[in-house]
Amino acid sequence: MPRRFNFFLMIGLLILATGPAYFPGFTIYLLTYGMIMSIAALALNLLLGYTGLMSFGHGMFIGAGAYTVALMMKYVGVHSFEILIPLSILISAGLAALVGCFCTRQIEIYFAMLTLAFGELLFVLCSKFYGFTGGTDGIRVKMPTLFGYVFRGSVDFYYFVFSLFLLCALAIWVICNSPFGKTIQAVRDNALRVGYLGLLVMKYRLIAFIISGAFTGLAGVLVVSLTGHAVPELFQVFTSISIVFMVILGGHTSFLGPVVGAIVFVFLQSWLKPLFFWQFFLGVSIILLVIFLPGGVLGGVSIWVRKALAKISS
């Protein structure tokens, strides 16, 4: 099984690595966007799949990352990724620590609702402080530079995002399989027992929330660099739910599920958007998904593949 899995992984990576050579510009744009959202989805899955906490407020970290970039450009005149990325990671982590102190005392639905509330709170703050944040008009953002290098085309930026995506996926994978990663899985499976082993459960939930927020903040920086426009809606529940949807779509039980989910979501969204009521189809697709593919696309496909192979070999 792992070998077959590696085979698909290799093909996926190969397509992503060579994509710009044969895909049209718009597909490149969507793939860039998909990889950015993959970072956010992987980060959310650290919380959802590995720690067992459902966050409906991850939009706040996308927003935090995006507005760090926008405000730094507008007021301080910083235009370089090498400053903006670490800074927004720090700010997102700080925000996660602050919000997490309130939220991680609660679990399940209470946790989800509190994160949702904090996200909406930031959305309202951001849209009402017109003088500082530009309100609902948002702030225009120019593509930042990297150590003085100016990104000229979409392909340049694609490879920058691709390498950050690889780096983040690897980092999150290592974290998930580290002693800490096993501990949060233990918290997910039986928090009571973790307490009886002598560990403070809340601490691990909080750390997971901070890590998750930090990576999502990085995704926020890239999103706003790609779209060129920071808007308060980034903080809002629709952004949060999209990330949750990506994770569920791809399958939260496997590590790479969220990546598949994010990329599929981005393409699905762009195909459906010309339709007048595209969100209807999005809703229908999630209903079908939950009923027929509870393990998500990756989970479902791997079952089909296994069944098909079993048929062939028998």
Partner: protein
């Protein structure tokens, strides 16, 4: 199995311990000692307060009145986590496992806790060969297959895994809440024959809550009989068995 009991170092000293739930006095002014290295059994009928007493010692249940001294310091007001860090470890009656983790990972998780490595974000757990080796050794001792997820293990092995996780922490005081409950009569002996030699070899001070007098006489050094939240009698298994008061309480067995 040399005589154990008074004369050895006292590891736990309990005085006037009480816990009530509304009108019910689950544990009522209990005085008892636990000695270094002994295996103490607490017996009694259902609702006699055995599990509550055990949880009060572990910190899982708060203490209403009375004092609990562990290694001559007062731990009555310490919480569950602090007591676990001192080495008072409780193993559950209904196995509390990490269901989606393999038995090996459940054990490794306990070992990382003991080694204070649970906040390490890298490297991956496979890069800790010593932890893996120790986890495999403990699983071998307890005769648990290592690769199955905990949720797929049969009940007897789940009980053993629960004890193994507690044991892996190298407890100074191991509290086993009915290690054979829910296990078929035939398997009870197997479970105990697996656990007890390990505890003897490592000289782990252990308290076992148990229903079955046969198991108690075979495996414990000293017995405390509880009835309606109070200590009815204590002594060696033979002394306790020949006590007529105990007969009345346990007669229904």
């Amino acid at each position: 199995m040399g005589e154990k009991g008074p004369g050895q170092d006292i590891i736990v000293n309990v005085s006037g311990l009480a816990k009530h739930f509304g009108e019910i006095h689950a544990v009522d002014k209990v005085d008892m000692q636990i000695f270094q290295g002994e295996i103490l059994a607490i017996v009694g009928s259902n609702g006699a307060g055995k599990t509550t007493l055990l949880k009060m010692i572990s910190g899982g249940q708060s203490i209403d009145r009375g004092n609990l001294f562990f290694e001559s310091s007062d731990v009555s007001r310490l919480g569950l986590i602090q007591r676990a860090r001192l080495g008072i470890i409780y193993s559950f009656q209904i196995p509390a496992l990490f269901e989606n983790l393999s038995a090996l990972d459940c054990l490794r998780m306990a070992l990382f806790t003991r080694e204070h490595k649970t906040v390490m974000f890298f490297p991956t757990i496979e890069k800790f060969p010593l932890v893996r080796k120790e986890a495999e050794e403990i699983l071998d001792m307890f005769k648990i297959p290592k690769d199955f997820p905990a949720c797929l293990l049969p009940h007897g092995q789940r009980k053993l895994l629960d004890v193994a996780m507690a044991f892996a922490l190298k407890p100074r005081l191991l509290l086993l809440d009915e290690p054979t409950s829910g296990v078929s009569t035939k398997e009870k002996g197997q479970v105990m024959d697996t656990i007890m030699p390990i505890i003897r070899q490592t000289n782990t001070t252990t308290v076992i809550v148990e229903h079955d007098m046969e198991i108690v006489t075979r495996y414990s050094d000293r017995v405390i009989v509880m009835d309606q939240g109070r200590v009815l009698a204590q002594g060696t298994p033979q002394e306790v068995l020949s006590n007529p008061k105990v007969g009345e309480v346990l007669l229904w067995r």
